[in-house]
């Protein structure tokens, strides 16, 4: 079909946004800033030229692209032992009872807690207190009977095998593993353990 008068009618309708013009400009500017942050967020935190000038929450959502940048030096798995007031010894706890989401992989909240906060005394002492109380409350069997006096957080650092040698992932109990693959991060002070266990067994 020809004819300039009909041309406008033949143009397909275009869906427009509901934002006013100034709203589109602001949204576009924020979008460009986010995209720039997505790139600079992949730099080490100290070398991110934008991060220090932007709100922390904004930066948090921009630090999404830098996935698995480095080779793993070891196969890491976090483990928790608790001090049994009855046995007067540390025993391995089944953390899945208290951190039930995604119980068998690294997306488990306990694994993430170890990953993010293994150096943070404030967070780990909060975990210490919380777990002592939670263990006293009703729960399904977690591998340790009776009251507990404290916790001990460790990570396993299992060697990455050479090429061609691989085993199916199969976490073994701490008691079956040598001390050389265990790295300790936090332990409840003995005085606190004794105080919590006093008169309880």
């Amino acid at each position: 079909m020809r004819g300039g008068g009909k041309k406008k009618d033949l143009e397909p309708a275009v869906v427009r946004g509901f934002l006013p013009r100034w709203g589109e400009i602001v949204a576009g500017a924020v979008g460009v800033l986010y995209l720039a942050s997505l790139v600079t967020g992949s730099f080490p935190r100290s070398k991110d030229p934008l991060g220090s000038h932007l709100p922390a929450t904004f930066v948090h959502f921009a630090q999404a692209a830098g996935l698995f940048p480095n080779a793993a030096e070891a196969i890491i798995d976090y483990r928790l032992e608790v001090w049994s007031c009855r046995a007067r010894a540390f025993q391995e706890l089944d953390t899945r009872v208290y951190f039930p989401m995604r119980p068998d992989d690294k997306e488990n909240r306990f694994e993430r807690l170890g990953f993010f906060y293994r150096h943070d005394a404030k967070v780990l002492s909060t975990l210490d207190e919380w777990l002592a109380a939670a263990h006293d409350g009703p729960h399904v069997p977690d591998g340790v009977d009776g009251p507990i006096g404290g916790i001990r957080l460790s990570s396993l650092r299992l060697p990455v095998p050479p090429h061609g040698e691989i085993e199916r992932w199969n976490p073994r109990p701490l008691t079956e593993l040598p001390a050389s693959v265990k790295k300790r991060w936090y332990e409840t002070p003995p005085a606190v353990r004794d105080q919590r266990c006093a008169g309880r067994s």
């Binding site: 397909p12 309708a13 275009v14 869906v15 427009r16 946004g17 509901f18 934002l19 589109e24 979008g31 995209l35 997505l38 790139v39 992949s42 730099f43 080490p44 922390a56 929450t57 930066v59 948090h60 959502f61 630090q63 999404a64 692209a65 996935l67 698995f68 940048p69 480095n70 080779a71 793993a72 030096e73 196969i75 798995d77 951190f99 039930p100 989401m101 995604r102 992989d105 690294k106 997306e107 909240r109 993430r112 807690l113 993010f116 906060y117 404030k122 967070v123 909060t126 919380w130 939670a134 299992l158 990455v160 095998p161 090429h163 061609g164 691989i166 085993e167 199916r168 992932w169 976490p171």
Partner: protein, 305 residues
Amino acid sequence: MTGPTITERLWARFTAPQPLVRLELIRILVPALVLLFLSSRMAHVDDWIGTAGFHVPDLGRADYRQPLFVPPLAPLVARGLISLLVASGLGLAAGAWTRISGALFTASLLYVDLADRLSEFTVSKLGVVLALALTLSPAGAALSVDALRRGGPAMRLVSAGYVRAFQLLIVVFYLGSGIAKWRGDWPFGDVIWSQIHDSYQTVVAYGLAKVLPAWSWPTFQLVTLVYEAGAPIWFFAPATRPFALAYGLAMHLMIGLMFGPLIWFSLLMMSLLVACFAPATWLEHVTSRFARGAPATDRSGRSSA
């Protein structure tokens, strides 16, 4: 009299209206996949964002792990928030009261992300950004409950920015990922091999590790590095775009098959890749089979990425 310069032609192409089906597919797929990703968390809502589970205390300082302290909720409130998250996510996917659904989905997703950093991953981070972008867009104009309610002629084009934003997001995401890999161990290290031995390991990863020669792992790394760092080139040039789409889909398929929990991240990226870069005529053809009110198939090849 001279014609338009290359820059003018490129700008005209960049700002030309885009196939609406791209935006609508993102609106359908993203909230659905985010909800599926979160489903394993929702099953333990009291532990996740409720007071029953352990929660990191207020660190009281600026910290990348806790940009804003958001307290856990009483059990009933937590369940109410998750109900809202699910309802609004499904509403957004269905295109029912799209702007309201999108705003509620964005807000509830933002809350759960900030409330529990321990269960937050790339899918949930990107989910907030994508949900916000969908909320501010005219998504819901087709392939939606809203389109059925409104009636009228089927629309097939949308202002460029509402599609270009998502396309740019993918390309820039890959670029950022490529830079991080380049600065990390991907050029010379043994990254992929070193990551397939822990709890992420699937039977596919185990089987491949048994049969693939040692040189294949650094080869995968280098190809992926070139793909991601060069994404702006591969996706911009029409000649390489189909290959970039195909490689991206294959790469994410393998990530999902080899690293169990990453399946949701892979599906999210694959959905975005298809919605943003697959030929629009294909997308319109497929969607027109599923829904009335879908953008009509246009065989003129008007689609442009």
